[in-house]
């Protein structure tokens, strides 16, 4: 037990050291724009279809459930407002982040982990190239930019998914549905969702890259670290989401 706690504290210290290094190097030039662009393409552009499909179905399911419940009160047009608010505040950033963890977070850990076990990282350090600045910081920049961008697309697609089910499947009055949706949704709802997404991008990348750099034990170790990174990132974004929601409600009243 004591050994477990000591190991946990050692890992925590290493993670905090890594976290502060990342924060520091984010503001130190030179910024490797080529690397950043490459990762934006990987994380952002190549993830658009899978993110869009995920949130489209999420919006459809949410709309279907809400319309069935609200039909009891003959208030099915209000489902539009509920879908849009839920989507912009919570679902779009969280679902996008989870999809990106599965697709890109795991890839980051596996890629860096493989480099670690094949001693490419050591080679870089030997050549006085900081792996953190070369491998991690560009990924963090790319994630901070692409997570909100994909969340913006997710918002639009998710809301359209809800609208599609409401107007074309359930026969809800489309004009009333849109009216209530835009009446209740506030720009602040969308902004807070985008801010959350940027924070998620930072958290996911830091956790996944940290696990990649800590990999040891060959291919088995890569697999173990990848699983741990995905699980920890998913839990971390849910906890961070709760904390940010609490802060937004407490201090910004939204």
């Amino acid at each position: 037990m004591v050994e477990f706690i000591a190991r946990f504290l050692r890992s925590l210290r290493r993670f905090l050291q890594f976290f502060t290094d990342c924060c520091r190097w984010l503001f130190c030039p030179p910024f490797r724009f080529g690397q950043i662009a490459e990762h934006i393409e990987k994380i952002g552009l190549q993830s658009v279809p899978i993110v869009a499909l995920s949130v489209f179905t999420t919006g459809m399911i949410l709309s279907l459930q809400l319309i069935n419940i609200m039909y009891i009160f003959r208030a099915e047009t209000f489902a539009g407002a509920a879908v849009a608010i839920a989507m912009s505040r919570e679902l779009a950033p969280v679902v996008t982040a989870i999809v990106l963890i599965a697709k890109n977070g795991s890839a980051m850990t596996a890629e860096i982990g493989s480099m670690k076990v094949t001693e490419q990282i050591s080679a870089m350090e030997t050549m006085a190239v900081s792996p953190l600045r070369y491998l991690v910081v560009p990924r963090i920049f790319a994630s901070i930019l692409t997570f909100p961008a994909l969340t913006a697309i997710a918002n639009a697609v998710g809301v359209y998914g809800g609208y599609f089910v409401a107007a074309h499947v359930m026969g809800v009055n489309s004009v009333a549905y849109n009216h209530t949706m835009f009446f209740f949704v506030d720009p602040d709802d969308i902004w807070t969702g985008l801010v959350k997404a940027a924070v998620f991008g930072f958290i996911v990348t830091v956790i996944c890259c940290y696990h990649g750099l800590q990999t040891s034990g060959g291919a088995k170790g890569v697999g173990r670290r990848t699983t741990a990174a995905v699980v920890l990132s998913t839990v971390a974004i849910l906890v961070a989401d709760y904390i940010m929601t609490f802060l937004f409600i407490r201090f910004l009243g939204m």
Partner: protein, 499 residues
């Protein structure tokens, strides 16, 4: 596709998604909003962002609901185009049967001064419409219940029964008296007719008969007196009881008569007002009745419209700005005129003073023989023709997004403008597809941080961006400009003294 271009398109697409969504949910008002406050007794059913309507048209939003001295305080964002006077009224009205409310604003009229921004609207009515009617019904029901309770009390019931008995007896007695006396009255009238005949005849015998008639009349009078003497006491008592009962009923009814009194007063006031209006008294009366005044106003209005129409005929924006090119260490100056005949279409004419001019490269290859050795020489000639370039573009506006196409600095191209907020504008232009090099990509951000201030500072704006970003001749810039529209032009033209 080039990676940079793909990323650019990706972010533009994401920005459009977010921008359009935010724009649609933001309920912007053209020309901005101004803030007013109102204090109300009841904010029940009102939500943040509830509509403020004027004659059924949305003219603002309820920005905030708070508390001030134990009452609800509304912060209203009203469209800047709407003039609100000090006699403005605001009322909470039911929007739907779901219990949601909106605020109905009567902006008042010019008989009162204009209400400055950040002031309080004093006439506030929060209990209205269906709820008000329900309150009145409840009030009437309460009074009716009280009246019925009093009526149903045993003491009052006895009184009412007594009144009814007395009324029945009185009616019977009166009927009997009238029957008895009607016969006498008939006899008297017959006698009177005879007397009149005798008087006409003027004979002594007839005079005797007249004497007899008078005696009979006296008898009738005595008889009536007898009847009256016998019944006086009973009749007086009955009448007293009746009077008391009626007084009691009158008192009860008086309590529920307040509302009717109010209605009567209102009706009386309305009658007075309509009389005054009909007589041509007061401003409204004069406007309605004085044909000359109406014609004068109509003429002035027509002249003003003609003046504004002939002055410009369309929305015109004049723009002049100069950018400092960081790498080239020079200034590039633009002068544009945008003509906007319709809300969704515009034409842009402009001149650009570019210190770099039109740069064209000519590469020639020649062979030279030196000492029996043949050399191939490439001559690269760069020609800078002229500094002045022209813009001629046509654009369509789709909400916050505008698409432009036409001539960009003497080259064909197209552009995209995105205005997420009135203070900020983002533009991207791509043009010059002629050469072997990639087309020129120009990206610009424009901020109007002084738009909220007084003129001429509100005309100022700052720019920053990059030119020719894809090719080697890329440059970054920042600059300062002036932009004003036809309203500003009108005021400038209007302020020029006439010769």
């Amino acid at each position: 596709m080039n990676r940079a271009l793909k990323i650019f398109v990706f972010f533009v697409f994401c920005s459009c998604c977010a921008g359009i969504y935010i724009y649609k949910s933001a309920d912007f008002f053209d020309g901005g909003t101004k803030t007013y406050f109102a204090i109300a007794d009841d904010a029940l059913g009102l939500l943040r962002d509830s509509d403020v309507i004027v004659s059924g048209v949305v003219a603002g939003k309820l920005d905030k609901i708070g508390l001030e001295n134990g009452k609800a305080k509304f912060t209203l964002k009203i469209s800047k185009d709407l003039v609100v006077y000090e006699n403005a009224k605001i009322e909470k009205v039911m929007e739907s049967m779901l219990g949601t409310y909106v605020l109905s604003l009567e902006p008042g009229d010019s008989s009162a001064p204009v209400l400055p921004e950040n002031s309080y609207i004093k006439n506030v009515k929060t209990a209205s419409g269906l709820s008000s009617a329900m309150d009145k019904v409840a009030e009437i029901m309460e009074k009716t219940d009280a009246l019925m309770e009093k009526v149903m009390e045993r003491e009052n019931q006895d009184k009412i029964n007594k009144i009814i008995d007395l009324l029945v007896k009185t009616t019977e007695n009166t009927s009997q008296s009238i029957d008895g006396n009607m016969k006498l009255l008939s006899s008297v009238l017959k006698d009177m007719a005879d007397v009149m005949q005798k008087v006409n005849a003027k004979s002594d015998t007839e005079m005797e008969k007249l004497s007899q008639v008078l005696k009979n009349t006296l008898k009738v009078t005595d008889r009536i007196a007898e009847i009256s003497d016998g019944k006086d006491e009973e009749l007086n008592k009955t009448l007293d009881d009746l009077r008391n009962s009626l007084k009691l009923i009158a008192e009860e009814l008086a309590a529920s008569r307040g509302a009717m009194q109010d209605v009567r007063e209102i009706t009386s006031n309305v009658n007075q007002i309509t009389e005054k209006v009909a007589n041509g008294e007061g401003t409204v009366g004069k406007l309605l009745n004085d044909d000359k005044l109406y014609n004068d106003i109509a003429k002035v209005s027509d002249k003003l419209t003609d003046y504004a129409d002939t002055l410009l005929g369309m929305k015109v924006y004049v723009d002049a700005h100069s950018n400092y090119m960081v790498f080239d260490n020079s200034f590039k100056t633009y002068f544009d005129i945008t003509l906007q005949p319709r809300a969704d279409r515009f034409y842009l004419l402009g001149v650009v003073d570019d210190p770099r001019g039109n740069v064209s490269h000519t590469e020639t290859t020649r062979t030279t023989v030196v000492n029996d050795t043949t050399y191939v020489v490439n001559d690269d000639k760069t020609v800078v023709t002229d500094n002045l370039k022209f813009n001629l573009q046509i654009g369509r506006i789709f909400g916050p997004v505008a698409l432009r196409g036409g001539i960009f600095q003497n080259k064909a191209g197209f552009g995209l403008d995105y205005n997420p907020w009135k203070y900020i504008s983002l533009s991207a232009e791509i043009f010059d597809f002629s050469g072997s090099a990639a087309p020129q990509l120009r990206v610009q951000g424009m901020a109007r941080p002084f738009l909220w201030t007084m003129e001429p500072f509100s005309w100022l704006y700052i720019t920053a961006g990059g030119e020719d970003l894809i090719n080697g001749g890329r440059d970054l810039y920042f600059g300062l400009g002036l932009r004003f529209d036809d309203d500003d032009l009108k005021s400038i033209v209007g302020s020029v003294p006439k010769p």
